[in-house]
Symmetry: C2
Subunit: 151 residues, 2 copies
């Protein structure tokens, strides 16, 4: 799976020195933990991480340009092309030229793509729930809210 998110930002760990550890020193390792958690699930569903990211960001909106999609998932536009090729070949997404601007490609999920995405996400979130079960319901809610605020 993604060895990167990880890899790069992941290396910063606890400081024993200060009153609190660096935020990045906690987010990084947590990201790696999640990555390790999801890797086998994605693998079982036949999806690489970036492919899953693509499926996640494709929803009912039939529109969008590849560059915008790449930017949305934090990737380079050149990086997702082979991923899109593969997803298209597998019938999970559809890529057709925009009638109003034939340079652009309109991206959309196929029914099968949606099915695979939802099944994969259900499995991933189930695994995440196991981790989140360490928190009390109140903590859990505040934690998730805070995360969204920080984005």
């Amino acid at each position: 799976m993604c060895t990167c998110l990880s890899s790069v930002q992941a290396g910063i760990l606890n400081a024993v020195t200060s009153s609190r550890p660096d935020l990045a020193a906690m987010i990084g390792p947590l990201g790696r933990t999640l990555f390790a958690l999801e890797a086998p699930i994605l693998d079982a569903h036949g999806l690489a991480m970036w492919a899953y990211a693509v499926l996640l960001n494709l929803d009912d909106e039939p529109v969008r340009t590849q560059t915008a999609l790449a930017e949305a998932i934090g990737a380079d536009k050149t990086r997702i092309i082979k991923i899109l090729d593969d997803l298209t070949a597998r019938g999970l997404i559809e890529r057709r030229p925009d009638p109003t601007d034939r340079r652009a490609r309109l991206l959309s999920l196929t029914a099968e793509g949606r099915r695979l995405r939802d099944a994969t996400q259900a499995a991933i979130q189930a695994a995440e729930e196991e981790l989140l079960s360490r928190l009390t319901p109140a903590e859990r809610e505040t934690f998730l809210q805070a995360l969204q605020k920080l984005l």
Copy 2:
């Protein structure tokens, strides 16, 4: 700075489908945000990310083997060697053979290394505080507690 952590695990973003986004879809981008936040600070202090991670994990314990240190920061043992070489050459850490096992190297911070580490960490945490200011004090406390629980 680290383009990797980020890079790899970072790509998963919001799902519009489910009741909550994937945890990884929030942790990843947050990690990238933090990475972008810290990169200029680390650069200004003359530290690469892994070098900073090394300094953070070296404290008063004068002991430890390189392999253990590498594992602690989530790196490969072969990956930190050049980093340790550089830190040693700059007088920020000390690396001396363990008298009881001459295969191993005892790693420790120098006074200057500690000074640089603390100054860098202060700057980084100050930047992080700015981000955390989006949270209420209660949210902030719960969020940080929850993070530590999840590690």
